[in-house]
Symmetry: C2
Subunit: 343 residues, 2 copies
DNA sequence: TATTTTCGTGCAAACGATTGCATTGATGCT
DNA sequence: AGCATCAATGCAATCGTTTGCACGAAAATA
C-alpha cells in the first residue's frame, strides 16, 4: 500500500537506517548519498508514517488544546478563535500541529486530557482557561507533563508557567478612566465567578474605587454566565436599584453587546445615560453601536506567547520553574463612554 | 516509563494479546479474565499508546480539518468557530478527535494536507471551503481518501460528497423579499469571487431579478474580500453611482457590519434609506444596530452533518458515490430591512 | 609501513500495540 | 473409549520508524 522507508532504501541502494538519517538530515551521511536518497524519495512519493515515527522516537510534533468544558457554548466567543489563531501560527512556525478533544462535561474534558497525555498523543498542552480547583491543571502538574495555561492559574501558580493579561491592572485602569470622565456610580458586570479573569478584573475595579474614595457597593457587582444573554439580566438588576449606576465596566465585549442591546430596549442611551467600557476589543467592538470603548488585550499574542513558552518547555528536559509572561494591554477609546476628548 | 500492555499482561497473568482483546472487548475472552485484566489495567493506570495502536491497526480515530489558506485571517470569522463546533460535537460523539494544520500560503496548506494524508495521521478530512481549481480537493479525490467538503465543490461535484446550504435558493429568496418590500434598485455585495458561496448567492440574486422583470446592472454587483473592511469600499462604490441602490444583499454578516458602519458614517440611515439583508445569522446579527435581517443557515449543522457523512464514509470501505446533503435555511427578520410586517 | 582516527554505512533491536494461527483442555457425540 | 468440536488463550509476526553499536575503508598520524 504505502511507500515505506524500505522501498526508498531499496530504490536508492542503501539501508533503511540510512534513509532515516537522511530524513533527519544527519551530518553523518555524505552529500552524495543524501541526494540519491532524496531523489528516490520523491520519485516514489514517500511520506514518513507519523505513527511509526512517534512510536520510535517518543515525540509527536503535536500540541494539545484544552478548551473549557462547555466547549459547545464557549467556542462561540471569538476570543477562542483568536487565541487559537495565535497558537496555530506559532505552532506551525515550529513544525507542530494542533490536536483538540472536546467534551461536554468537565469530566469528559478531563478524561480527554488524560488519554491525550498518557496515550502520548501530544508533546505538550495549552490550557485555554483557568478556574478554581481545576482537575486538569492539577493532573498535568502531577504528571510533570509540559503545559502552559492562558490566563492566571490558581493553585500554586508559582510553579506553572502561564501567559496572561494583567487583568487586575486593566480593571483598575478602566474604572479610573470612568471616574475621570466624572462618574461616581460605577457598576461591574462580570462573567462566571470561578474564572480567574473575572476575579482579577473585579479586583482591579474595587481597588480603583477605593483609591478614588468611592465606597464599594456589592449590589453594583453582578455576574452572569459569559455570554451576551447574560448581559440582559444584569442590566435589569442594576437598573432596578434605588440608585442605578451611570457607568458600567463589563468583563467581556460579547457581554457588553448584550448589555447595550438591553439598555437600548429600555430606552437608556449609551453613552449619554450610561457609559460602557469593556474588555478584549473583539472586532465586534468596532462595529457595534455605539462602537465600544474596550481594552485591547492582544488575544492573538496570548496564544502565540503561550505556544512559545510551551515549545521551550518541551525542548528543555529540565522541568522549568513556572515562568510568567504578561502581554501588554491598552485602552481603545471609541464612543461608548462619551469622553472622546480623553487620550 | 510508560505502563505498557505487557505490564498489564504480567500483572493479570495473561498474554499481551489477551489484554489487547479485552481492550477491544472481544467476545472470545471469558468474563472472568476480562474482569481480572480490567482490574490490572486501572491498578497500573494503563492507557494504550495511540501511536502503537494506530501503527498496528492502521486507524487513527482522528479527523483532519482543512482551513482556507489565509487561515490567519479567516479564523476570525465566527463562521469557522461555529462549523468547528459542529464538527467537534459529532466527532466526539463517535470517539474521534480533531487534528488541524494551518499554513499561510495555499501551497503550505496543500503540503499540510498531503503529509497528513500520506503520513496516515487522520482517517478522513473535512474541507472547510470550496474554491475553483483547488488542488486540495483534487488531491484527496485522486488518493481516494475519505473526505467531505463544507460548501459546494466545483470540479466534478457529482463524485465528491459535500454538505451545503442551498445558497442559490437563499440568494433568490432574499432578493425577492427585498422586492416585495418595494425595492427596485437592489445591489449585491459579495466576498471573494472564486468562492462557491459567492457565486451561488449572486446567481440566486440575478435569477430573482430576472423573474421579477428587473434588469441586471453589473455596476450593482461588487465584490470584496470576505471581511468587514471590504464592506466599506463596496458601499462607497455603490453610493457614487448615478442611481444608487435602495437595498443591498450582502453575502456575509461580517461584511454587512462593515457595510452598515460605513453607511452610518455617510449619514445614510438603515433601513430607511437603505435596506440591508445578509447571510449566516451570526450572533452579531442580533446585536448590531439595527439588528440584521439575515439568513440562518445553521452553520453548526453544516459541520455536524459533514462529520456524519465523513464517518460513514470512513466506515464503509466501498468508495461511495458523491452524496450531497443540503441543510435547510430560513430568513430571520429583524430590523435592517424595515418590513417588520412581512412574515 | 603499521597503527590509530575518522567517516559513511549497515545490522538488528527497540517502540507498543494488533491479529492470524496454533494450542490446550473441556465438552459432546457415537 | 475414541474422536470431533469448541471455547479460551498464547505465540509470534507485523505495522514503519529510529538509533546504539559494529564494521570496513579511507585518511591521518607516527
Amino acid at each position: 500500500m504505502q511507500v515505506t522507508i524500505k522501498d526508498v532504501a531499496r530504490e536508492a541502494n542503501v539501508a533503511p537506517s540510512t534513509v532515516s538519517r537522511v530524513i533527519a538530515n544527519s551530518s553523518r551521511i555524505s552529500q552524495k548519498t543524501k541526494e540519491r536518497v532524496r531523489q528516490a524519495m520523491d520519485e516514489l512519493g514517500y511520506y514518513p508514517n507519523v505513527h511509526a515515527r512517534s512510536l520510535a522516537n517518543r515525540t509527536t510534533q503535536a500540541i494539545g488544546l484544552v478548551m473549557p468544558s462547555a466547549a459547545t457554548k464557549t467556542l462561540q466567543n471569538p476570543f477562542f478563535s483568536e487565541v487559537i489563531r495565535g497558537i496555530s501560527t506559532k505552532a506551525h512556525q515550529n513544525g507542530y500541529s494542533l490536536y483538540m478533544t472536546t467534551g461536554v462535561s468537565e469530566e469528559e474534558v478531563y478524561e480527554g486530557v488524560v488519554s491525550m497525555v498518557q496515550g502520548r498523543r501530544v508533546d505538550g498542552v495549552v490550557v485555554l482557561y483557568s478556574r478554581t480547583d481545576d482537575k486538569v491543571v492539577q493532573f498535568l502538574q502531577d504528571s510533570k507533563f509540559p503545559f502552559v495555561v492562558v490566563g492566571k492559574p490558581f493553585s500554586d501558580s508559582s510553579h506553572v508557567t502561564y501567559v496572561d493579561t494583567d487583568n487586575y491592572l486593566a480593571g483598575r485602569e478602566v474604572t479610573k478612566y470612568l471616574h475621570q470622565l466624572g462618574h461616581e456610580c460605577i457598576a461591574f458586570v462580570g462573567g462566571a465567578q470561578d474564572l480567574a479573569v473575572t476575579q482579577e478584573r473585579v479586583g482591579g475595579y474595587k481597588t480603583a474605587l477605593m483609591e478614588e474614595g468611592i465606597p464599594i457597593q456589592e449590589s453594583y457587582i453582578v455576574s452572569a454566565p459569559f455570554m451576551t444573554t447574560g448581559g440582559a439580566e444584569a442590566v435589569k438588576r442594576l437598573m432596578s436599584l434605588e440608585h442605578p449606576p451611570t457607568a458600567v465596566v463589563v468583563s467581556d465585549d460579547m457581554m457588553a453587546l448584550g448589555v447595550m442591546s438591553t439598555l437600548n430596549e429600555m430606552g437608556i442611551g449609551v453613552p449619554d445615560q450610561m457609559a460602557v467600557v469593556s474588555f478584549n476589543n473583539l472586532f465586534i467592538a468596532e462595529f457595534s453601536s455605539p462602537p465600544l470603548t474596550s481594552v485591547e488585550i492582544n488575544i492573538f499574542g496570548l496564544g502565540f506567547e503561550a505556544t512559545n513558552c510551551l515549545i521551550e518547555q518541551i525542548n528543555e528536559d529540565a522541568t522549568p520553574y513556572g515562568k510568567r509572561v504578561i502581554v501588554p494591554h491598552y485602552l481603545v477609546v471609541r464612543q461608548s463612554c462619551g469622553g472622546k476628548s480623553e487620550a
